[in-house]
Amino acid sequence: MKMKFDRQFWVRCAAIVVVLLFGMLMFFIGKQHTILLDNKTITVNGQEIRALQLVEVQVNKLESLELAARDRDKVDVTRQSHKITITYTDSNWNEISFTRKFKVPLMEEMVIISIPTLVSDPEADQSLWLEKYELPAYAIQASPEEEVVITDDLAGLISL
């Protein structure tokens, strides 16, 4: 089998490249991220930022979530860049609503957004209020018991 650098060869190369690119595109737009929305009092470099009493959060066009103080909720999204809309009433009862775009790092399974930090300074860089989230160890070791692997392909025969 000898290589011929004719037209067909190049067409094939091109096709392969296209497919690969398409695959990567799929990876980008298909990758699922879990965004944790957290409304807790936290301290960012010394100063304490208090949680809001009640805040309404909407990510993209998904149905909006109501978070009371010390609440945490999650949304699953695909693709990287999203926008978050936050609606709350400040101390002197006038309702404030603002929308903020942000980008989730590609390889992050799970990120957490601290609402109070975001509210305190909507223009701040996303690194301040969005950080990756590691599941606590116990969550991973969900099933410590060794499970037996059934390679017998007859198992499926009866219960199909």
Partner: protein
């Protein structure tokens, strides 16, 4: 010059022996060599190997008649096994115990084996050329059919039927108190505390092997070989090819029936329902490893093959386990056995015709 001759002769012998056989042989040898270093007791593994050899040898022997008569590899072995299962279960049903139960099992199994084998033979005569594929599926569908039967047949022996419903056979039935180890313990020789030789089982196999060997030296046996070698020639010599083929199938089926009984008496359990489903494949690959081809097989092939195959099956788990702490024996079994069958199927067998 001489050396060249030497080399060529060596080459030819190797060729005749077959590359895969050599590889497998060496592999087994390696395992035996490694065993002591990784703390596996040679004695135990050897006696395991011998035991498994005895258990399976008869079923491998069941391949021989059909290969001889040109019906190809007997993928339909489960049919014979079913006859055996019927025999075994019946003899338990009628509460025969001890050695007599084994005798009775064989006795009960025989008529089933003959009838099933005869029908199976008739079928195979109708589909000359496509035997192997059809044999496979005859085996499968018969097993599936028996699954229904095991549920429906009016067995009543409490050791066999489901406790709660009181009807329908269990998936595994212990041969305890019936024909468990009747052959194993017959004159079994205990060399060390690890190494025991199941003499009875070997004797039994030896007898059967002798019978087959003798048969192949009789008039009919000769005819059978000729039919396998060149059916047209046989026909031109006034042989009724179909009759001979049917006979060979009946023999194979019967041997299959006996084979499974021998297996059970050593294994200790009767496996019903999907149990016999894939039992043909190990037997087939064993005889192929022994050097048989799709249309030639000898008793030697049976013995060598069964030993190599079972040897690997016993050695790999223990040695592997103690070496890399993972049991890959299952995978190795699948790859080796099916690889061997593939190898045989891709040989040019009808080259000289």
């Amino acid at each position: 010059m001489n050396t060249q001759n030497m080399i060529s002769s060596v080459k030819s012998t190797l060729k005749s022996f077959g590359l895969p056989r050599i590889i497998i042989g060496l592999f087994l040898l390696l395992l035996f060599i490694l065993a002591p270093f990784v703390g596996v007791n040679i004695g135990t593994s050897l006696s395991d190997t011998l035991n498994r050899f005895g258990m399976n040898a008869v079923m491998v022997l069941a391949m021989v008649p059909m290969i001889h008569s040109g019906c190809g590899l007997n993928f339909g072995l489960p049919l014979g096994i079913i006859a055996g299962l019927l025999g075994g279960t019946l003899s338990m049903q009628f509460n025969f115990t001890g050695p007599s139960s084994f005798m009775m099992a064989i006795l009960f199994a025989t008529p089933f084996a003959v009838i099933l084998g005869w029908g199976y033979g008739q079928l195979l005569n109708k589909v000359k050329g496509g035997e192997m594929m059809i044999a496979t599926y005859v085996g499968f569908s018969s097993v599936a059919f028996m699954c229904i039967m095991w549920l429906l047949l009016p067995y009543s022996n409490p050791t066999m039927v489901w406790g709660y419903s009181g009807s329908g056979l269990r998936t595994t039935i212990s041969t305890e108190g019936y024909y468990l180890h009747v052959l194993n313990d017959f004159f079994s020789i205990r060399l060390t505390e690890h190494l025991t030789i199941p003499t009875g089982m070997f004797l039994f196999f030896a007898v059967l092997a002798l019978i087959i060997w003798a048969f192949l030296h009789t008039k009919t046996g000769t005819a059978m070989t000729a039919v396998g070698s060149n059916p047209v020639f046989a026909r031109a010599s006034g042989i009724n090819v179909d009759k001979i083929r049917t006979l060979s199938v009946v023999m194979s089926t019967w041997l299959g029936a006996i084979g499974i009984l021998v297996y059970q008496q050593s294994f200790g359990f009767i496996q019903l329902y999907m149990g016999p489903f894939y039992m043909a494949l190990p037997a087939v690959s064993a005889i192929l490893i022994g050097g048989a081809s799709v249309n030639k097989a000898t008793i030697t092939n049976v013995i060598v093959g069964t030993f190599l195959f079972q040897g690997i099956l016993t050695m790999t788990p223990s040695v592997m386990n103690s070496m890399i702490h993972t049991d890959m024996s299952e995978v190795i079994r699948i790859v080796v056995s099916n690889g061997m069958i593939l190898y045989a199927l891709t040989r040019r067998t009808e080259a000289t015709r």
